[in-house]
């Protein structure tokens, strides 16, 4: 039993790390990885998803519906942001740093002023289960599977639907896509909203496990950026191996040497991976 417990506990920790990295990264992978927009307001989409989930769940909606509402609201906010601001920055992507930074500043502070410094959170659902000396949270054990499901759904979306084809075409060569009759502005808008919605989903899924404060998104930004960049330009081929590898290192270091080693180990691994694979990990799998 003990060997099984040890193996399972390591897998659980790995899954935990993997899920956090993947879910943080997905929204940014679409917006930054695919569209090239450096979205420093990523954390705020996460916060939006989390807050809406908590508020609707408290109002009586069952948790899964509340989470969907959170993600959809984040997607709508993303669409509005794209229309008002991001749309004008596609030919000067570096300026998206300042613009999204400014949006992040405005959003955090406005939430603080109007919603107060925090709101009461939710309990983690599904209880716990025991294995040997350890007890684990069922919800957290399921999170990596949610992450993989979302990844699979994204794959289906991008490779099996018309929208997917249009989106990939537009991102590969917008001029050509326009010539072929695609409404590129509409596609950009939808893709940005998708990215925002994914970020909102991450916030919604993690809402029952962390504090609900206006600055809660900030803890998702660095994991998101490092995972996306380590993964490389191809969203779907990149995020999975990147999150897997980084998650492995982080959970391993934390288990062996403590949380400080885990944090620093993650960052140093990013540096080494990029040094060894300058185009990111996805490039390894990309035969095109």
């Amino acid at each position: 039993m003990t060997l099984f417990t040890t193996i399972y506990s390591f897998l659980y920790q790995f899954g935990d790390s993997f899920a956090y990295l993947t879910l943080s990264a997905l929204g940014l992978a679409v917006i930054f990885g695919m569209m090239g927009v450096i979205n420093l307001a990523h954390g705020e989409f996460v916060m939006c998803g989390a807050y809406i989930t908590i508020l609707t769940a408290k109002a009586g909606l069952p948790l899964p519906l509340a989470m969907l509402t959170g993600a959809m609201t984040a997607a709508c906010v993303g669409a509005i942001l794209e229309y008002l601001i991001v749309r004008h920055l596609y030919n000067r992507l570096f300026d998206s740093i300042v613009a999204t930074w400014a949006v992040s500043l405005i959003t955090q502070q406005t939430m603080l002023i109007f919603a107060g410094p925090s709101i009461e959170g939710l309990s983690t659902p599904f209880g716990s289960f025991e294995l040997g000396d350890y007890s684990f949270s069922t919800y957290r054990a399921l999170l990596p599977f949610f992450a993989i499901t979302v990844l699979a759904a994204l794959y289906l979306l991008f490779f099996r639907t018309n929208y997917g084809i249009y989106a990939r075409a537009t991102i590969q060569n917008a001029q050509m896509a326009k010539c072929l009759g695609l409404r590129t502005s509409r596609i950009y808008s939808m893709t940005f909203a998708l990215g925002a919605g994914l970020a909102g989903l991450a916030g919604a899924l993690y809402a029952p496990t962390i504090t609900a404060v206006p600055t809660m998104g900030s803890s998702f930004i660095v994991p998101a950026f490092v995972t996306v960049v380590t993964g490389g330009a191809n969203v779907l081929l990149g995020v999975l191996p990147a999150a897997g590898f980084l998650g492995f290192i982080q959970s391993g270091m934390t288990a062996a040497f403590g949380q400080l080693a885990g944090q620093i180990g993650l960052l140093i691994t990013v540096i080494f991976v990029i040094r060894l694979l300058p185009k990111g990990m996805g490039h390894l799998f990309n035969r095109r």
């Binding site: 956090y20 603080l112 957290r140 504090t211 949380q259």
Partner: protein, 407 residues
């Protein structure tokens, strides 16, 4: 009729006093506190408490007939803003006293500025202890007050095997050092110690480590919004161990922000929290909520910030002047006390720190609070014992148990 007449008479009586107060040269109180940013959650009650105290004092005639004028700059939880505005206060506004700072880093950022200008400065927050500085007076609680009461009590109730998880910086490390010391003095064992960087909010491995060694209780010295995620996560994993802390609940009111039973069986030793049910506390709460009806929580630091204003007032009255050197001498002469929400507390002349009433708060399953024990008049004894005597010898340092003052 009677009521209206009474109100009219009250107004008529206070009006000349108010007018006189407004006419006199104000006492300037500079405030450097974070109204926005990461620390705003814990700091906003402090700002409100300061405003309340000033309003009350001004309504009764101010300090020696002079009203207090509050000059507050929002430092946005940013150390550089602390430095910029400390300088601005000193060079432009020239206050008679400066209050402020939440994190130790921001206090340490402005302490050199206060010392250079010989500016009287009050730090109204609990912290890791050890500041022995002639210009600085601390109304916050220190580890010897909070741990020497809490840890032996917990060891007696639950057992002698202790696990500490602490934020990985000065406050967490020094607090953990104190826990280690007291556990050893009481014949216990530290079965584990984990230091968590401030940016961490995922505690899966930590929870597992705790379960592996099966301690009797866990000392949690976690700081900031990110680290407080621990409580929900350990409840979700059903860790089910009693917890002790000097900092949880009293400062960032986790028991109000997390759904029960995340903080169940948490024992904290603040010098005040709003659940305290005494005449002084209830009166304070009533006045506080009258001015700030939407205050999420009246915390330990709110009480300290409130008491600080009254301590300053008492010192100025004893010195019969707002001259900073004279006020400092008055405080170092001893006997400067105030009767606030936690009862009577006094400023210790040797260490410039305050005595406190320590309440043992036990968080129940539904996050209500019971107080199994109260310790009165706990002195900040460590600095004095270690060799800091500001009444006799000037100093401008911060010491720790592992690097005490040179004798």
């Amino acid at each position: 009729m009677n009521k209206i007449r009474r109100i009219a008479i009250a107004c008529a009586l206070t009006l000349p006093v108010s007018l006189a107060v407004m006419a006199a040269d104000p006492v300037k109180l500079g405030l450097l506190e974070d109204q926005s940013g990461n620390f705003s959650l814990a700091v906003i009650p402090k700002i409100h408490a300061t405003e309340l105290a000033i309003e009350e004092i001004n309504a009764k005639g101010g300090i020696m007939g002079r009203p207090i004028k509050l000059i507050h700059y929002d430092t946005q939880s940013d150390n550089t803003k602390f430095q910029e505005f400390a300088r601005r206060l000193i060079q432009v506004d020239k206050p008679d006293v400066i209050f402020g700072a939440f994190s130790s880093a921001s206090r340490e950022a402005i302490r050199p500025i206060m010392d250079k200008a010989k500016q009287l400065y009050f730090y109204n927050n609990q912290y890791e202890g050890g500041v022995c500085d002639s210009n600085v007076f601390v109304t916050g609680a220190v580890p010897e007050q909070q741990f020497s009461t809490l840890v032996p009590w917990l060891m007696e109730k639950y057992g002698k095997r202790v696990y500490t998880i602490a934020a990985d910086y000065n406050f967490g490390q020094i607090s953990a050092e104190w826990v280690r010391k007291i556990v050893k003095e009481n014949g216990g064992t530290m079965v584990g110690e984990e230091f968590i960087p401030l940016s961490v909010n995922q505690f899966g491995q930590t929870i597992q480590n705790i379960q592996k060694v099966k301690p009797d209780f866990v000392m949690t010295l976690l700081v900031g919004n990110l680290q407080s995620a621990y409580f929900e996560q350990q409840a979700a994993a059903n860790l089910n161990l009693p917890m002790g802390s000097s900092i949880q609940v009293g400062q960032a009111y986790e028991h109000k922000r997390f759904k029960p039973p995340a903080l169940k069986n948490m024992y904290v030793t603040p010098n005040y929290i709003e659940e305290v049910d005494s005449p002084a506390s209830n009166d304070f709460k009533k006045r506080f909520r009258a001015k700030f009806p939407n205050e999420p929580y009246i915390s330990q630091e709110a009480a300290n910030a409130y008491d600080a204003v009254y301590i300053y007032k008492a010192a100025v009255e004893k010195a019969k002047s707002t001259d900073m050197v004279k006020v400092r001498k008055a405080l170092e002469g001893g006997g400067i006390c105030t009767d606030g929400p936690q009862g009577k507390v006094c400023m210790d002349p040797k260490s410039h720190h305050m005595s406190h009433t320590i309440y043992l708060a036990h968080v129940q399953d539904d996050h209500s609070i019971k107080f199994p024990k109260v310790w009165n008049d706990i002195q900040p004894y460590w600095l004095g014992q270690a060799g800091c005597n500001l009444a006799a010898k000037a100093d401008y340092s911060q010491y720790t148990p592992s690097s005490p003052p040179k004798k």
